[in-house]
Amino acid sequence: MDTLTTLLLGFISIVIINNLVLTKFLGICPYLGVSGRIDMAFGMGLAVTFVVTLSGTLTWLIDHLILMNPSLAYLHLEVTRYVCFILVIAGAVQLVEMYIRKFFPSLYESFGIFLPLITTNCAILGLCLFINLWGIDSFPQAVVLSFGAGIGFTMAICIMAGIRENLTFADVPESLQGAPITLITAGLLTLAFMGFAGMIKG
């Protein structure tokens, strides 16, 4: 397979087939917490996309240039991987927060506490570690995968928000109203996306 096909397949894979939220169950808290309204969900998705692209790329660079550098192997730097990744993510989130506060004050208001919480969004750390686990060794692929993970998250949270907005008008049994029906919805959505498994062969 040539490079472009690999990149394209990698992108489709991370968005649909290996969607971090729907198949890896990462980043569930914003997925359920900020999916009340579709505009906010979209904003959250964009913020996460930005953070995950930046931190995924940066962590790949740090990982390959410093931590896993063969000439530095005797120092066993890979033990600091988690801490380094968290540091990168936290820094990126701070950057995004300042940027949004400056240019999109209303979005900043509506995010409230969820914006700093992107730091602890496990989808992001998960992606950084998955890139390692899957042995991605080309820089473009790491960038595309990071970006794709963000797009996948945005897609998942927007679908969820769309369904939840319509759930307001649905005739839900009293015992299932609120959180239970949301969780059931999330489960059904996941089941649907599980159907994509095995779509890309080879």
């Binding site: 740090i62 120092l75 600091t80 990168v88 950057l95 300042m98 400056k102 409230g112 506490i113």
Partner: protein, 300 residues
Amino acid sequence: MILALTIVELWQSSWPAGLIMLGLGGGFALVLLIASIKLKVEVDPKIEQVHQVLPGLDCGACGFAGCSQYAKAVSENPELIGKCAPGGAETADKIATVLNLQISESGAPKRPIIHCRAHTSDRTYYGDYKGIPSCTAANALANVQACKFGCLGLGDCTRACKFDALHVVDGLATVDYEKCTGCGACARTCPRHLIEMVPFTYEHMMTVACRNRETGKVTRSMCKVGCIGCGLCAKQSELFSVEENLARIDYENYAPGEQTDAAMNKCPTGVIIYVGKNAPPPREKKARTASAKKDSLNKQ
């Protein structure tokens, strides 16, 4: 010896990790420092100050997402003061201080004045009002009481007040100036616009406690203590003016003195009174009219 060895070993194996963390941390600190200067947002210092006096629990009891959101909201709309449950009255006081709620443009604290002084026995009613116990609802009825301008006494302002500073006493809303913070919630809620926020340049202020714009005869027929627009006060002091059968006080040039006291004493219905902390009690009703006549009759 073994301990010393392990410490040395620990140091030898861990310094690269420490160095990496230091380098990364320093790099990010630098980037964030530049970003924080470049992307600096000018925040109203008042919002910051309000945020500082809040408890900082982000509990959401006020109905906002967190303390910072509430600080912003309350700075823009002081009516939201007193929603902080953990902070209680103390925090509300501090917010009021920060927001200068008590201070008008001239530097005097703003306080509400109720432009009505008619208690239940002073009014004329056409019947008993048994509807929704709210001034706004009662105000929609044409003949809930004879006076179309006076206090309805159903306590919309009492419910709006978050400081327990407004009570309906014998059918008339009465301000407790010791507790009032001057937030102005009552003035906004009164459906008859009877409550005016006035800069209290003195501890107590003189006021024409009436809003009735009917002619003197009609006013007399419906209220014992209404302003009849006779203009006696305006003749005594330049502070008073009569428009639309109603005396008004020019609060911008407010300065009490002999003239204003004379105006108060000349007022045939006693509608000019002092309000505020330690206000002198109003003149006995009809002291100048009925009982004075009686006295003069007795002398004869």
